[in-house]
């Protein structure tokens, strides 16, 4: 139970302008800002983006703690990205070189660039996830993909399937942990240095987790059917309310940022 909250950037009910945004406007803005994060390279760009994200975190009452807890989990990964770039990237203004190590101002800047992108991406996603319910996200994705419906692709079922799968991650993670502990107690060697043994050691973990995932999927499918679910049918959803001034403001700001980023980094 404890883990689920930490694992998923979980929806936090609140009444803030960000929560009130129309999910469609919110998700389009999200993708626009995602593009900004990818385009940005300069200090000015990152500063502006950083300030925007801080004000969004504040506005949505997500708070730095939750944004930070997500980043902390990938801390080691970030450090690794930074070091890889800083140590090996052959950039301008070299400071120190030895064999295949190159430390340069350009390399450090490159490392910082990539690490910042990851941090900003995570912050942006956790703001979206904490302010938007799973079904809002599902429906918006189905809406965005709806042109595919003409190709007879069951877009809504697909979006629902992905959404449910994501929600089962915490449950499965908790279960995996129990199975790891149970097999450890049966003297399973999970930290063997030999590759062959390592592969063998995974079997006692992977098989039970798979079996359990299939059993759960089976039960869930029954439960959904029992509640009248019919695949291939667009279910009635709260019809998406029209865009308000707030939605236009959000779209305008994110598109403006995107345009500025494109011009700045041309």
């Amino acid at each position: 139970m404890m883990h689920s909250a930490i694992l998923s950037g979980h929806y936090l009910p609140n009444d803030t302008p960000i929560h009130r945004l129309n999910p469609r406007a919110k998700i389009i803005s999200f993708f626009t800002l995602l593009a900004v994060v990818i385009i940005t390279r300069s200090t000015v760009g990152y500063t502006a983006l950083g300030l925007l994200l801080l004000s969004l975190a504040h506005l949505s009452k997500t708070g730095p703690r939750i944004v930070f807890s997500g980043i902390r989990r990938v801390g080691l990964f970030l450090l690794l990205i930074f070091l890889m770039n800083a140590l090996f990237f052959n950039g301008d203004r070299p400071l120190w070189e030895y064999a295949f190590f190159h430390i340069s101002v350009g390399g450090i800047a490159q490392g910082a660039n990539v690490a910042l992108k990851v941090i900003f991406l995570m912050a942006l996603s956790s703001i979206l996830m904490t302010t938007t319910t799973p079904m809002e996200i599902t429906d918006t994705f189905a809406w965005l993909l709806s042109p595919l419906q003409r190709l007879r692709i069951p877009v809504h079922d697909f979006a629902l399937m992905i959404s449910i799968a994501i929600q089962f991650i915490p449950v499965l993670a908790e279960e995996s942990e129990t199975i790891i502990k149970a097999q450890t107690a049966r003297a399973a060697k999970l930290d063997s240095p030999k590759l062959r043994e390592k592969a063998n050691a995974l079997l006692p973990l992977v098989l039970p987790i798979f079996i359990s995932a299939f059993r759960r999927a089976d039960e869930l499918a029954l439960a959904m059917e029992a509640r009248g679910f019919r695949g291939g049918k667009f279910r009635t959803r709260k019809s998406s309310p029209g865009f308000t001034r707030l939605d236009f403001a959000a779209l305008t700001i994110s598109i403006a940022f995107c345009a500025a980023a494109v011009i700045l980094h041309r």
């Binding site: 139970m1 689920s4 998923s8 799973p134 449910i164 059917e225 509640r227 019919r230």
Partner: protein, 277 residues
């Protein structure tokens, strides 16, 4: 007219090597508003039978009518599932959203409820199970009993007449079990729902209007708890154990101490013993 009428049901799971019947000639009738416990050891066919009542398993042989609707007719399937809801065993495997109100809305959306009514229906269903105010919470953060009550609210939202609890208390702790049993009794008494509760716990069976005892795909006995639970040879033959007061009653009788009537609860037992002295 009975709300459930089953006649001569046979069922066998595909691919089962022995081709053993999981249901073997089941006749089952239930009046609207009745509270029936299906009692029996694991594998006796309780769940298989119940999954016929909402069309989760196809009818292979026999006749079955739910609120007058013929289960054999595929056109009736969605109406039958609307009349007959089911709460499952594992509370974790029933949620389709990590926000409770969205999960409860799932059934309503499947049955094309007008979107503007949905919030009110969700609230009503949560209030019925004593979980009002949890609309925006995540089911993953709740206790086992609370999770099952939310799952029940998801079923209640579409106002079924029959609710089946398929071992819904089996994975809960004592507290969670009490919560669900209280909710069941309240639905039965105040909302006049027809209840089918599947269990192998005697203290839960005591609460029913009627117990149907299953063994190897057949209903071997059907009657009020007082008759079924006090019948030691019958319970033993179905591989079940009597409630503790019944066991004590029998053991005392074998020692030459005769109580006037077989008690089902501890309260009845102590009353009887007091009368002895």
């Amino acid at each position: 007219m009975d709300i459930i009428e089953a006649k001569n049901l046979f069922y066998t799971y595909e691919g089962e090597a022995s081709q053993r019947y999981s249901l073997e000639g089941i006749d089952f009738r239930m009046k609207a508003g009745e509270f029936v416990v299906l009692l029996g050891q694991n594998g006796s066919g309780k769940s298989t039978l119940a999954k016929h009542f909402n069309g989760l398993l196809p009818l292979q042989q026999g006749n079955l009518y739910i609120a007058g609707l013929d289960v054999r007719d595929p056109a009736n399937l969605w109406d039958i599932r609307r009349k007959c809801g089911m709460v499952f065993q594992n509370p974790d495997n029933q949620f389709i959203s990590s926000v409770i109100e969205e999960d409860i809305a799932f059934g309503l959306e499947n049955y094309d409820f007008p979107p503007e009514q949905i919030a009110a229906e969700v609230h009503k269903a949560l209030a019925l199970v004593g979980m009002a105010g949890f609309e925006k919470k995540s089911p993953h953060m709740l206790s086992g009993g609370q999770k099952q009550r939310v799952a029940l609210a998801g079923v209640l939202a579409i106002s079924p007449e029959i609710i089946i609890f398929d071992e819904s208390t089996a994975m809960l702790d004592i507290q969670g079990r009490q919560e669900i049993l209280q909710t069941i009794q309240q639905l039965h008494q105040a909302e006049h729902k027809s209840i089918i509760h599947i269990t192998h716990r005697m203290e839960e069976a005591v609460l029913a209007d009627r117990i149907d005892l299953m063994k190897a795909g057949r209903i071997v006995a059907s009657g009020p708890p007082r008759r079924i639970l006090a019948d030691l040879p019958l319970l033993t033959s179905a591989n079940l154990l009597p409630p503790l007061p019944v066991r004590l009653y029998e053991d005392l009788r074998n020692a030459g101490i005769h109580l006037a009537e077989c008690p089902l609860t501890i309260h009845e037992l102590t009353e009887q013993l007091c009368r002895l002295s």
